[in-house]
Amino acid sequence: MHKGTRIIAFIAVFLIIATMPFLANHGQASADPEVSLDTPAVNEMPVKQCIEPLQDMRSEHMQILDSWRDRVVREGQTTYVNSVGQPYEMSLDETCLSCHSNREQFCDSCHSYSGVDVYCWSCHDGASNNSNGGVE
């Protein structure tokens, strides 16, 4: 092969780039993130139920929060009525974080695992601005 060294070097570089995820994960057992519901407020609940059914919360929580923000800030509404007719205050700090007072173990564990860059915390201080006092 003419200029065989260069061809082989090219192939080697290609293979390293193309199999990069395999090389990076070699021999690593993937650790699933721990999503913790272990907070005082959740533990006190007789039925562990979020404002909407679990499956909807999993897939739609970002849209709910986004629409809450728009409705509170732009339209001045403050009450959210869920799918079974129960009212909740539309507030990340007062409603969500009063139960899920463990931001690091609840919100952040999934978001950092799946590489989602949320910008909630650029305004909200999820660690201390919480009236329920679940977190120091």
Binding site: K3, A29, G115
Partner: protein
């Protein structure tokens, strides 16, 4: 027909994955077996094609030159358009790969009356550049699903890509640009009569397949809502060679994975292989140094020559008899 067949193929492939996962529960096939098989075909095919090109003959120095060759010291040498050294050739190659400089020189030729006129035609260059850069950013963004912890660079790219924070999940700019660029490249083939005449199913299929991949990915993010946690667990499983399946991740994910698998498997055996071929183009990867270094065809076989000295030695007596001039009086 030339569009219909590839379109049908892409729709059928997507439908196959959807039906296979939704009704036949073939997640193992579409989520593990076929992705691995596709990657294997991609790697083997890519290396095979490169080796094949590496073994083919380059008998001449055929660099394309678009500028002043290195000459006398007072003649300004165009180092990038007419590289005289390997470094210059590498520089030109890098710019070619990153900026498509030769396509920037694309011209439109038209006959106006009796005259032929040339005009600049930059749309293909722009569309191609936007598509390729968007694809690179999209690929890099996807690494967040394959690496744990997610490197800062990768999440940084995602943050910049979604910097306008439009909607939730945040709209990625490259989703828009790749879709727009692919739509443009497709429309160009369909709407420009001369390009439509030249286009073959092998031109439409990769375009439509890429559109299928992009659309299925966007739908997965906004409409079908696959569970990101399960997706990441699955991708990490694939990447660490300990595949773990999620049967509940939603068939949209499998459609996306299957179309990507088809793209990877198809890649080395199609025109998409220009990704590797660009580096092996003799017109682009050789320095134009034919006046400094003699380019010897490495495939030259030893030729038996009969030099004039030998010829004269052989026929000296006969030549002398008929009075022909001789170099050496033997």
């Amino acid at each position: 027909m030339k569009i219909g067949l590839p379109l049908l193929a892409v729709v059928a492939l997507a439908a196959l994955a959807w039906l296979g996962c939704e009704y036949l529960r073939l997640q193992v096939l579409f989520g593990v077996v076929l992705p691995y098989l596709a990657l294997l075909l991609f790697l083997v095919g890519f290396v095979y094609r490169v080796v094949l090109w590496g073994r083919s003959a380059v008998p001449f120095n055929i660099t394309t030159t678009c500028g002043q060759q290195k000459s006398l010291p007072w003649v300004k040498h165009d180092r990038l358009e007419n590289p005289s050294s390997t470094t210059g050739a590498i520089g030109r190659m890098i710019l070619e790969v990153l900026l498509f400089r030769s396509l920037f020189r694309n011209l439109r030729t038209e006959k106006r009356g009796a005259r032929i006129s040339f005009g600049s035609a930059k749309w293909l260059w722009l569309g191609g550049l936007v598509f390729h850069w968007s694809l690179l950013v999209v690929l890099l963004r996807h690494l967040r699903l394959f690496l744990e912890p997610v490197p800062v660079v990768i999440s940084g790219i995602g943050a910049v890509d979604g910097m306008f924070q439009i909607g939730v999940p945040v709209l990625f700019l490259t989703d828009i640009t790749i879709l727009a660029a692919l739509a443009f490249l497709f429309a160009r083939r369909v709407l420009a009569p001369r390009i439509r005449y030249l286009s073959l199913p092998a031109d439409y299929f990769p375009l439509l397949l890429l559109l299928g991949v992009v659309i299925s990915g966007i739908l997965m993010r906004y409409a079908f809502k696959v569970d990101m946690l399960q997706v990441k667990e699955m991708m990490l499983g694939l990447a660490s060679l300990h595949p773990q399946l999620s049967m509940s991740a939603g068939s949209a994910l499998y459609v996306h994975i299957f179309l990507v698998s088809v793209l990877f498997a198809y890649f080395p055996w199609s025109k998409l292989m220009h990704a590797g071929g660009i580096f092996l183009s003799p017109t682009r990867n050789m320095p134009n140094n034919s006046r400094q270094v003699r380019h010897i065809n490495p495939w030259n076989y030893p030729v038996q020559v009969h030099s004039y000295v030998e010829y004269e030695d052989e026929y000296r007596e006969k030549m002398r008899k008929v009075g022909l001039p001789l170099d050496k009086e033997g």
